[in-house]
């Protein structure tokens, strides 16, 4: 029927292109085998923890690089904890959001929230752990001597300047180890004179990786712990230098070398301490000439020292790959991060509540859709066909975009997101109404229906674009400024508004042009939604009969 188009409008071509786009989107989904959107944790259960970073140096903004580094550290921490599928993202310039699906472990909060502690401690004993000696030494292992049991613990008690329970005392029932550092902090000299007690040694011998360490991670106390692969156990002295004194750590390949090293830069205080400590360590024998670099109570690296290093610049060598060198540098830099974190919110949704919320969201969507369709059938009769088809097209586009954005960008649909989609049903239908009402206005002003479809479009187009711009603007502002889950609402609202524009321009309008050429709609049949009595324009000529006759005579100008 509609084979020739009068003007520059090519409704069929537009419709075909749109169909190709939709088929294309679904083909991408088929290729990637994803058919359902990625769901937010409020719809499938899980924990979301929001941390807010503050600049620990006082006022000032949070440096994005620092935040990103903190994110990496927290991600590593959680991965080490064995929570699968967890996600750590930054948000809003000062927040880190941790999402762990289907995790009900309350200690996750503790794990994420605790401050990272990076210390340099002296190594007193280093042994392969027989308990879980499955993993091979890490790539950084060549920085560590493979095995050295040649410890010569000198049982001379250090001065009482350090207030830990003295090892020399023959206590049959060992008192619990202190969990907080003493004040005032012991001096560097005292700490360098420190040697393990008999209790430390026996605890160390009994300890196997994988067990809870007998020693809490306290600055002025010894630490018995393992490396990251849990293949070596260490007995470490009190913390000599805090990671806060590291101003910079970088992975680099020095000149005349092919291997990666990690370079360290200390601040003034750190540089002085580092020189003292390295001087002390260099005079010791293995393994006591080693530094244990300890992050969150875990030995990250244990390089040995051969001479005192002045100037606050050091370099850790070993058989690093680029990745292992960068990882170590990141960890070392963490101490330099001028950030402190506070747990802002913890959201824990049980799997049951999640599925209830998903169900409720779907029910709300279906009710909303049904109400809109019902109303448009009652009011617009045959035009409801256009409304429903347009909503179906908008639905297909929305679904595929949400699925694909979930697969490619990690966009997760949450409950506010679903609300955004439901609200968008109204926004989308509103655009059709503006157009339809405009067509009726044009007919009332005496135009033929076929002309009215075109002139009505030209006039309503502007209104639709303005209305959608306002909607888009609010979605954009809300998306940029919103915190937390409600961001999902702004995102889907903005997305669906864009889709609405596409649908109105590339589907509804061409569809109307085509339908205007049919007898049912074009002649204003009584159920078409364009029937004269419905529009009250019974006197107006609905069908341009001139044009119909003109088709024989060569067409209207």
């Amino acid at each position: 029927m509609a084979t020739t188009s009068r003007k520059h409008a090519h409704p069929l071509r537009t419709l075909v292109i749109l169909a190709v786009v939709i088929v294309g989107l679904f083909t991408i989904m088929a290729v990637n085998r994803v058919w359902t959107p990625k769901l937010g944790l409020d719809l499938r259960g899980g924990s979301t923890i929001t941390l807010t970073a503050a600049n620990s140096t006082g006022e000032g903004s949070v440096d994005p690089d620092s935040l990103e580094l903190a994110r990496t550290i927290i991600q590593q921490r959680i991965d080490g904890y064995g929570v699968g599928e967890s996600e750590v993202t930054t948000s809003g310039g000062n927040q880190i959001i941790v999402s762990a699906p289907n995790v009900q472990k309350d200690d996750l909060v503790r794990l994420v929230g605790k401050t990272a502690q990076l210390y340099f401690r002296q190594v007193f004993k280093e042994e392969a752990s027989s308990g879980t000696a499955t993993a091979e030494p890490t790539a950084t292992a060549s920085a560590q001597p493979q095995q050295s049991a040649s410890a010569n613990p000198t049982p001379t008690a250090s001065s009482t300047g350090n207030k830990r329970p003295l090892p020399a005392l023959p206590t049959p029932q060992p008192s619990p180890r202190p969990t907080v550092a003493a004040t005032p902090a012991p001096t560097m000299d005292d700490m360098l004179k420190w040697t393990p007690s008999a209790r430390d040694t026996s605890d160390f011998d009994a300890f196997q990786c994988g067990q809870t360490s007998p020693t809490p991670d306290v600055v002025d106390q010894p630490l018995i712990t393992c490396d990251q692969t849990k293949s070596y156990k260490y007995l470490l002295g009190p913390a000599l230098i805090s990671g806060q004194h590291v101003t910079r750590a970088q992975a680099a390949v020095p000149q005349n070398s092919v291997a990666y090293v990690v370079t360290l830069q200390f601040d003034t205080q750190g540089a002085a301490d580092f020189e003292t400590v390295t001087g002390h360590l260099a005079s010791q024998t293995s393994p006591e000439n080693q530094f244990g670099i300890v992050l969150d109570g875990e030995v990250i690296s244990a390089p040995s020292v051969s001479k005192a290093i002045p100037g606050g610049q050091a370099q850790i060598e070993g058989s690093f790959t680029q990745k292992t060198a960068t990882d170590l540098a990141n960890v070392l830099s963490y101490g330099a991060l001028p950030l402190s974190f506070e747990i802002s919110s913890v959201e824990n949704v049980s799997a049951k509540l999640g599925s209830d919320q998903l169900q409720a969201g779907i029910i709300a969507g279906l009710i909303g859709l049904a109400l809109v369709l019902l109303y448009s059938i009652l009011y617009y009769r045959g035009l409801a066909l256009v409304v429903s088809l347009s909503l179906v097209v908008a639905g297909l586009l929305t679904w595929s975009m949400i699925v694909l954005l979930g697969a490619s960008m990690g966009f997760a649909l949450n409950l506010p997101g679903i609300a955004g989609v439901i609200v968008a049903i109204g926004v989308t239908a509103d655009s059709f109404i503006i157009y339809f009402e405009r067509i009726r206005d044009e007919v009332r002003e005496g135009r033929s229906l076929r002309t009215a479809i075109e002139t009505g479009w030209v006039r309503s187009r502007k209104t639709i674009v303005v209305a959608d711009s306002v909607s888009l603007l609010s979605a954009l502002v809300l998306f940029i400024l919103a915190i937390g889950a409600v961001k999902g609402f702004a995102f889907t609202l903005g997305l669906t508004t864009l889709i609405d524009l596409a649908v109105v321009f590339f589907f509804t309008k061409p569809m109307m042009t085509l339908l205007g050429r049919t007898k049912f709609f074009g002649e204003g049949h009584r159920f078409s939604g364009f029937e004269p009595e419905h529009m009250g324009a019974s006197k107006a000529p609905l069908h341009n009969s001139q044009r119909k006759r003109g088709a024989v005579a060569g067409g209207e100008a």
């Binding site: 913890v346 824990n348 049980s350 049951k352 809109v372 609200v423 135009r447 889950a485 009595e533 009250g536």
Partner: protein, 395 residues
């Protein structure tokens, strides 16, 4: 398929009867929104007073997101004793903030416990206590824990969003309408909608959460959208106002009547899905973002449609009529009407008086002036010869 439908079984409406929409459009029937503005200003004033009173005396029920605290939700079949059982179980834990424990039921299958901020250990204790009473697993107890400074952050962000949005909206309106008074009227209507929505929140006592905030901010968009539709028509109608025979008020009122049906339809279509959100949120889930967003949008959208018709338009007309060019235009119209009245003394004919100024001009009988109706002069195609469609010609 279309052919089968060409013969209707029974005509439901008389063919001659014109629809309300059409009569509104042509001006056969119209409501004088601008003229009756005092009535609607009063209605709005009363609603706003109630809102302010509700805000002052009842206040907003801030959710724990703003206050800080812990919120537990457990699936449990609610009986008469549920609340008391759960409360005593939680109290038995001897939490630091004993007196501040709220236990409520949500629907018939959820119990909700709200406390002051807790540590992780206390959270585990409360979860276990609730689970023991309810006979469920501790993992089935959902909870959220909000730090004290979180609410402050959210409030700050929402305030920034509100200000940024208002500035952007004003800019947009100004850029679109190029008419300062339109911007003012639109902003006043916006504030009206905001206040009404917040007032309803205070009145009903739904808790204010971040979802509510975002709902309220979204209303700004909707309210504006309605106003844009109406103002668009006003601008079209008053395009060449100084050369027309109508006052600004008259044309503005005509514009409202012309877009009334469209405005009603877009509002109904927009509100229907929101109503679905509100109903599902309030009755199926009982709590959460669906309900919070739903109520804010529901109230805001209705208020937005109302204010763009009953508040924004009369305000705009009133402000424009104060302008010197409009005053001049009115005087000219009055002189013309007076001259016409003089003429009609010689030819006894129905005299139509024109009242202009404060109220809108009553319609001047165009025939008195020897003119054709304005609507026929509107830019449009010339009238085509009346001819029935083929289907009707058969009859």
């Amino acid at each position: 398929m279309t052919d089968q439908l060409t013969e209707p079984q029974a005509p439901e409406t008389p063919v001659k009867k014109q629809s309300i929409a059409h009569r509104l459009y042509t001006g056969d029937i119209s409501y004088d929104f601008v003229g009756h503005r005092r009535v609607w200003y009063t209605v709005s004033a009363i609603v706003l007073l109630i809102s302010v009173a509700a805000l002052l005396f009842r206040g907003l029920n801030w959710g724990i997101e703003f206050r800080g605290g812990a919120d537990f939700q457990a699936p449990i079949t609610v009986t008469a004793n549920t609340v008391e059982d759960v409360r005593s179980a939680v109290k038995a834990l001897n939490l630091p903030s004993q007196d501040d424990i709220t236990v409520t039921t949500v629907g018939s299958n959820t119990v909700r416990v709200q406390t002051q901020p807790l540590t992780e250990t206390e959270v585990t204790q409360v979860k276990t206590a609730i689970a023991d009473v309810s006979g469920i697993q501790p993992d089935d107890v959902a909870y959220s824990l909000i730090g004290a400074s979180w609410g402050q952050q959210i409030t700050t962000q929402a305030t920034i969003a509100l200000v940024v949005f208002l500035v952007l909206v004003m800019g947009l309106i100004w850029a679109y309408f190029r008419e300062f008074k339109m911007s003012i009227a639109a902003i006043l209507a916006l504030l009206h909608d905001l206040l009404v929505t917040v007032g309803v929140y205070a009145l009903i006592g739904f808790s204010v959460t971040p979802a509510t905030m975002i709902g309220v901010l979204t209303i700004l968009g909707y309210s504006l959208y309605d106003t844009v539709v109406v103002f668009d028509k006003i601008r079209e109608n008053t395009h060449d106002i100084t050369n027309s025979r109508h006052t600004y008020s008259y044309q503005a009122n005509a514009a409202v009547n012309q877009v009334l049906v469209r405005s009603l339809n877009t509002t109904i279509i927009g509100v229907l899905p929101v109503a679905a959100l509100l109903i599902t949120g309030a009755f199926v889930l009982g709590t959460g973002p669906l309900k919070d967003l739903g109520l804010a949008l529901f109230v805001g959208m209705i208020a937005g449609a109302y204010s763009s018709i009953f508040i924004a338009t009369p305000l705009l007309a009133q402000m424009r009529e104060l302008d010197p060019d409009m005053a001049e235009h009115r005087e000219r119209l009055q002189r013309r009407a007076a001259r016409a009245a003089e003429k009609s003394v010689h030819k006894p004919k129905t005299v139509s008086t024109v009242s202009v100024g404060d109220a809108t001009a009553a319609s001047i009988d165009p025939a008195t002036l020897g003119l054709v109706p304005a609507k026929d002069l509107d830019a449009g195609p010339r009238k085509q010869p009346s001819r029935h469609p083929r289907s009707r010609r058969k009859k």
